[in-house]
């Protein structure tokens, strides 16, 4: 399957902490304080299922995912989208230790859910698109860079426990 995502790839060694500038910290916290969790989460997750339909493979129990309208109106999709964004919130609150914050989630996604970690990047790209739609002009290049760096750390941490 050709690689689709352009979320920045991060290589964080186990002892190497991610360093955030003040601008990056402020920007990430600002974004999450401004977006509506119950709008952005469901929208990003639904968009991922539409734009990258193979991601539906993990949601066989979600009922009707037949087309974009069905996906958008599916209550299980909305619920899971909200769950995901609240999961991201934990990283926002623990910017200096995202890796450890996500250890259990990483094990869960690998051992129990068997999710190909490439999918995290696809969802990250959809989140970027949805946040851009929400923030409009204020989603400048610098803001995008900070947000994508944050998502890259999240994606890397979620993939860390895979073996």
């Amino acid at each position: 399957m050709p690689e689709n995502s352009v979320s920045a790839d991060l290589q964080t060694g186990s002892d190497k902490m991610v360093e955030w500038t003040d601008f990056e910290r402020d920007t990430i916290k600002d974004i999450f304080s401004r977006i509506k969790y119950d709008v952005v989460g469901p929208a990003a997750f639904a968009r991922c299922l539409v734009v990258y339909p193979w991601t539906q493979r993990y949601f066989g129990g979600f009922g009707n995912l037949y087309n974009a309208a069905a996906i958008k109106g599916n209550p299980m999709v909305s619920k899971h989208g909200t769950t995901i964004i609240h999961g991201l919130d934990r990283a926002v609150k623990n910017l200096d230790d995202i890796e450890n914050t996500y250890t259990e989630l990483s094990v869960l996604h690998s051992e129990k859910l068997h999710v190909d970690p490439d999918n995290f990047k696809l969802l990250a790209d959809c989140l970027t698109i949805v946040v851009a739609a929400q923030l409009g002009k204020e989603f400048t290049g610098e803001v995008q860079a900070a947000f994508q760096k944050f998502l890259a750390v999240v994606v890397s941490s979620l993939g860390r426990q895979y073996h």
Binding site: R47, V51, L135, F139, G141
Partner: protein, 143 residues
């Protein structure tokens, strides 16, 4: 992942809504690419001014969107339609094709920020497929 009739219609419909802003979109997308993916600056070392809003970036953004406009008009045969551009990219510019994906992403982020109501998931998937197909057509002559 070839373009269905539905994809082509979706792309043309979206393009008709956004094409008046093509220059602005191109300017923002290229500026943004340089900021978010600094490694792309390596292709523009010959520009004296790489700050967002510079005349070089504006001109380049216009050029890129001109290419996209051409691609929309040749949507039924991108390989033939973009053949000259492919030659140029393969032999003269030699841009690593991984960067097409990066610029495509930036273009879509800009469209999403400027046209949130129009850039629905349905429009997004068709545009993503189209831009991927454009990237493939551009890389056609590379080797």
């Amino acid at each position: 992942m070839s373009l269905s009739d539905k994809d082509k219609s979706a792309v043309k419909a979206l393009w008709s809504k956004i094409n008046k802003s093509a220059d602005v979109i191109g300017d923002d997308a290229v500026s943004r690419m340089i900021v978010v993916y600094p490694q792309t600056k390596t292709y523009f070392a010959h520009w004296p001014d790489l700050t967002p809003g510079s005349i070089h970036i504006k001109a380049h953004g216009k050029k890129v969107m001109g290419g996209i406009a051409l691609a929309v008009s040749k949507i039924d045969d991108l390989k033939a339609g973009l053949s000259d551009l492919s030659e140029q990219h393969a032999f003269k510019l030699r841009v690593d094709p991984a960067n097409f994906k990066i610029l495509n992403h930036c273009i879509m982020v800009v469209i999403s920020s400027m046209f949130p109501k129009d850039f629905t998931p349905e429009a997004h998937v068709s545009l993503d497929k189209f831009l991927s197909a454009v990237a493939l057509a551009l890389a056609e002559k590379y080797r």
